[in-house]
């Protein structure tokens, strides 16, 4: 009697344990699906310098971004796949203790780089300008150099006031081939983003337009 009782108990316990295992594994799977891995891989791309200048037309950004492609991206590039980048700038006026920061401008510039197989040259599109480069490093340098990017209209900033700006460059994953573009499923090999480069500046005075010679 006792033996059979124990036996029955262990059997039912085992069944329960099995059920619990199935349940737990299901829970883990669901958790993995829900919590999409969004960790950005640490790469060596970085904004080296950035500055906002005043021109008679308004404020322009000059920046130099060091872009380092990981092997996956480099390989993709060499096979003619287009890589799109977004250069994102955010200019804010810092608020005081009782008010939020005020967003001034959030311009975004679209960049593209690809390897033209027939030309056997790297093509860099930045704004409306298309340039080619023989080597990848040249092309990346070209891509990372930004000159005279008009970011704020005349009068968008008050001269002498202090503003904060931050800048970053990141791979536009929306433009990747569809299966790669689906977040949470692809690996983080298809990621590239510089950390935010933050700096604060005093709005420079707009120079007077020199009279035409």
């Amino acid at each position: 009697m006792m033996v059979s009782f124990t036996h029955c108990c262990t059997r039912s316990d085992a069944a329960w344990r099995g059920l619990a295992w199935v349940w737990l594994s299901g829970l883990l799977l669901a958790g993995w699906l829900v919590a999409a891995p969004s960790a950005i891989a640490a790469d060596n791309s970085v904004v080296k310098k950035a500055a906002i200048r005043a021109t008679p037309q308004g404020y322009v950004l000059d920046a130099d971004v060091d872009i380092a492609l990981n092997p996956t991206l480099e390989n993709a590039l060499s096979k003619g796949i287009n890589l799109h980048f977004l250069l994102e700038l955010e200019v804010t006026r810092p608020g005081n203790w009782y008010w939020f920061d005020e967003d001034i401008a959030e311009p975004v510039r679209k960049l593209r780089i690809y390897y033209h197989l027939l030309l056997r040259r790297y093509v860099v599109e930045s704004g409306y300008v298309t340039r080619t480069a023989e080597t990848l490093s040249e092309a990346l340098a070209m891509l990372g150099r930004v000159n005279d990017w008009q970011v704020i209209e005349r009068g968008g900033l008050k001269t002498g006031r202090r503003y904060e700006a931050r800048l970053r460059l990141r791979l536009d994953k929306e433009q990747l081939p569809k299966p790669l573009a689906i977040g949470g499923v692809t690996s983080d090999q298809w990621e590239l983003a510089t950390p935010w480069h933050e700096w604060s500046f005093e709005a420079p005075a707009i120079p007077v337009i020199p009279p035409p010679p």
């Binding site: 669901a30 958790g31 003619g80 027939l118 499923v185 690996s187």
Partner: protein, 710 residues
């Protein structure tokens, strides 16, 4: 709970449908595939939590021993196993074939072919470019010494000879010297960059294929044109020739195909992963939904059993009123129906039993009431003579408490008064003889006097409990009444028969004395006188005696009225010589009035005192004590003397006429006393004292205001 499960199931089905759409080439859904995945994951988690909650609940129920919970678990496990097996097999097969089919898209040969196609285009373009280079070299030489005047002509000639679309000659600073172009050429030349010009001047010719938005692929070669003059500047010649349209189109197509192929190749891992996740999600959702449905079905299957269990519990508690609803038409429904019928029958049976019980109880109560109101004593005994039941009359007759008899063995009745033991011993003896029925008159010496009991013993009829029934009546009064009646009759007859001849005897004796008185001489005359006198006296005495008997026989009925006993006692005692009797009075001052006839009671007191006087006639120091005392409902009159007492052999018949110890006297004294006392509903008791002498105790009832004496 139900609605939650239903909502989860519907959401799951919608999600799976969307997932299937997204799996196709529908762009709108593929945009939101990741959202779908996340929603699917969340739904899966919700289902899991739901299932876990149900399982935990089920486990709790099993722990608690709820009926049917184990069955639910078993069914759930079975259903789950049945659902899981095909699901997992199909899932495995799907994943396998998916991977295989995706891999088959990518073939090394296709890869190579496309790469070769691209290379082919590159080689073709290189060839064209080198051709153009050679032409450029030749032209540069041809133009080296051309003067400014003829340069346009020479350029045109050269262009036509070499079929180059555009020819442009720049000076050292990049200024255009001449520009000629064919039909499709542009009017404005493509200006080379400053760095290119500088590079070319350093004798490094520029030759490159370029893509210009409006013109497509063009070949561009820039070469220096040297002059022989020492002072002459180095000019620069630019040749622009578009790539042949057919070649460009094909090359571009190959490039595009290669690009797209590479795109897909790069993303195949992602594709596999997406399809894998979609499949896994589908499987998980399907399985979870199956589990949940399995749980619902199991629960539903177990419901009739729970219903039955509930019913059984109710019946066990004695609640027959619950009818279980029949929810299904299958065997379980039939079972519940049968159960309901059984419950109804049980209920009817129990009602019947209760009714029978009530009837029996009523019958028993009726019987008990009858027994209680019976004047005969009834005692029921079992086989070993243990008392089973006693009615109140029995206890009353025997003068004991009913509890003293209840559940006692008859032979073991060790009552303090031996009368009961004698009685029970006698009864036990009679029962021991195994007679079917017996009857006997037994003397019972109760504390209140000797009683005569007429006892009948019977065996209980067979078919019931074996035992005996003892029925007895107190027939003392009946016997006494009979005896009294007999004595009255004797006294009346005697008086009549004796009185009649007495008068003639007396008259005759007086006539003899009268007739012979004068004729006889003195001695004879004296003798005659003495003799006749004796006759007359004796006759007179006899007459008195006869009158006394007649009086006894024709005792007048007592007229009961309120009476002060103490006053009556004092009145009677005044007639006696207190000193010579040694009379002592102890009268209770707070005595209530009694119900009595003063004439008759006066005779009682006379007779009692007469008795005492007679007993003490020859005593040296006579002593008589008369006392009255209140008992609970009676007043006691006690007369005690210190005479010789009554002889033992007479004790039983003291109250009968002629029971006397005296030489003279009728022996009617105590008989009359007894008769009068009985007329008063009282009691009389005679007792010999151990110290010598006797006590006669008379108890008379207290007068009750409305005239009803008890």
């Amino acid at each position: 709970m139900r609605s939650l499960i239903a909502a989860a199931l519907i959401a799951g089905i919608v999600l799976l449908t969307l997932l299937f759409y997204a799996g196709g080439e529908n762009v709108m859904f593929s945009e939101n595939l990741s959202v779908l995945f996340i929603v699917g994951g969340v739904l899966g988690a919700v289902l899991l939590v739901l299932l876990g909650w149900r399982l935990w609940w089920l486990r709790k129920r099993i722990r608690r021993g709820v009926f049917g919970a184990k069955l639910t678990l078993k069914l759930l496990l079975m259903f789950s196993a049945v659902a899981m097996l095909p699901g997992l097999v199909v899932y495995g097969a799907s994943v396998f074939f998916l991977n295989r089919s995706i891999e088959t898209w990518f073939d090394v040969r296709v890869d190579n072919a496309l790469a070769s196609g691209v290379k082919l285009g590159q080689v073709a373009l290189d060839d064209l470019l080198s051709d153009l280079n050679i032409k450029a070299q030749r032209m540069a030489i041809a133009l080296s010494d051309e003067g400014m005047g003829s340069i346009i002509t020479s350029l045109s000639t050269l262009r036509e000879q070499s079929t180059v679309q555009e020819l442009t000659l720049f000076n050292e600073r990049g200024g255009v010297i001449a520009h000629v172009s064919g039909e499709r050429g542009t009017l404005l030349p493509v200006l080379p960059e400053r760095s290119v010009l500088w590079q070319v001047r350093q004798q490094q010719p520029y030759s490159r294929i370029e893509e210009i938005p409006e013109r497509g692929l063009i070949m561009r070669v820039i070469v220096p044109v040297y002059t022989s003059e020492l002072t002459g500047e180095t000019r620069v010649l630019q040749l622009v020739q578009p790539v042949p349209a057919g070649l460009e189109r094909d090359a571009q197509a190959v490039q595009l195909a290669y690009q797209e192929y590479q795109q897909i190749a790069v993303s195949r891992q992602g594709l596999k992963r997406i399809y894998g996740v979609a499949l896994t999600l589908t499987l998980m959702l399907a399985l979870l939904m199956t589990f949940v449905i399995a749980y619902l079905i199991s629960d539903r299957l177990g419901a009739p059993l729970r219903t039955l269990a509930r019913g059984t519990r109710a019946v066990a508690k004695g609640d027959f009123s619950q009818m279980q609803p029949i929810s299904s038409r299958d065997e379980l429904g039939v079972l519940i129906d049968s159960f309901n019928r059984m419950t109804r029958q049980l209920s009817d049976a129990r009602e019947q039993a209760a009714q029978n019980h009530q009837e029996t109880g009523q019958a028993k109560a009726f019987l008990e009431r009858v027994l209680a109101n019976l004047s005969s004593g009834v005692v029921v005994l079992d086989e070993s003579l243990n008392v089973l039941a006693v009615n109140s009359a029995a206890a009353l007759i025997l003068g004991v408490e009913p509890s003293a008899l209840q559940s006692q063995n008859l032979s073991a009745l060790e009552q303090p008064d031996e009368a009961l033991r004698d009685f029970s011993t006698r009864v036990a003896e009679r029962f021991a003889r195994h007679e079917e029925e017996w009857q006997e008159q037994i003397e019972y010496n109760a504390s209140e006097g000797r009683q005569t009991l007429l006892v009948r013993g019977t065996h209980l009829p067979p078919g019931m409990e074996r035992g005996y029934v003892l029925v007895f009546d107190d027939v003392t009064k009946l016997i006494n009444a009979e005896r009294n009646a007999a004595w009255s009759e004797v006294a009346r007859r005697l008086a009549h028969e004796i009185k009649n001849p007495l008068t003639p005897i007396q008259l005759s004796a007086e006539r003899i004395a009268h007739k012979l008185g004068g004729k006889l001489d003195t001695p004879d005359a004296e003798f005659l006188t003495r003799a006749t006198q004796t006759i007359v006296n004796q006759v007179a005495a006899m007459k008195n005696m006869v009158d006394a008997f007649a009086g006894y026989a024709r005792m007048p009925r007592a007229k009961l009225e309120a009476l002060d006993l103490n006053a009556l006692v004092r009145e009677v005692l005044a007639l006696y010589d207190t000193k010579s009797l040694g009379l002592e009075l102890h009268l209770d001052a707070g005595l209530p009035r009694i119900a009595g006839d003063s004439t008759l009671l006066r005779q009682v007191i006379h007779n009692l005192l007469q008795n005492a006087q007679d007993a003490l006639s020859e005593h040296a120091s006579p002593h008589v004590e008369v006392s009255t005392r209140l008992n609970t409902h009676t007043v006691n009159l006690t007369v005690t003397d210190n005479g010789a007492g009554f002889p033992e052999h007479l004790m039983a018949r003291l109250f009968e006429p002629y029971a006397t110890t005296k030489a003279k006297g009728t022996g009617l004294g105590l008989a009359i006393v007894k008769k009068i006392v009985e007329e008063h509903q009282g009691k009389i008791q005679i007792e010999n004292l151990k110290s010598g002498g006797a006590t006669i105790r008379v108890a008379l009832p207290v007068f009750v205001a409305d005239g009803e004496s008890t």
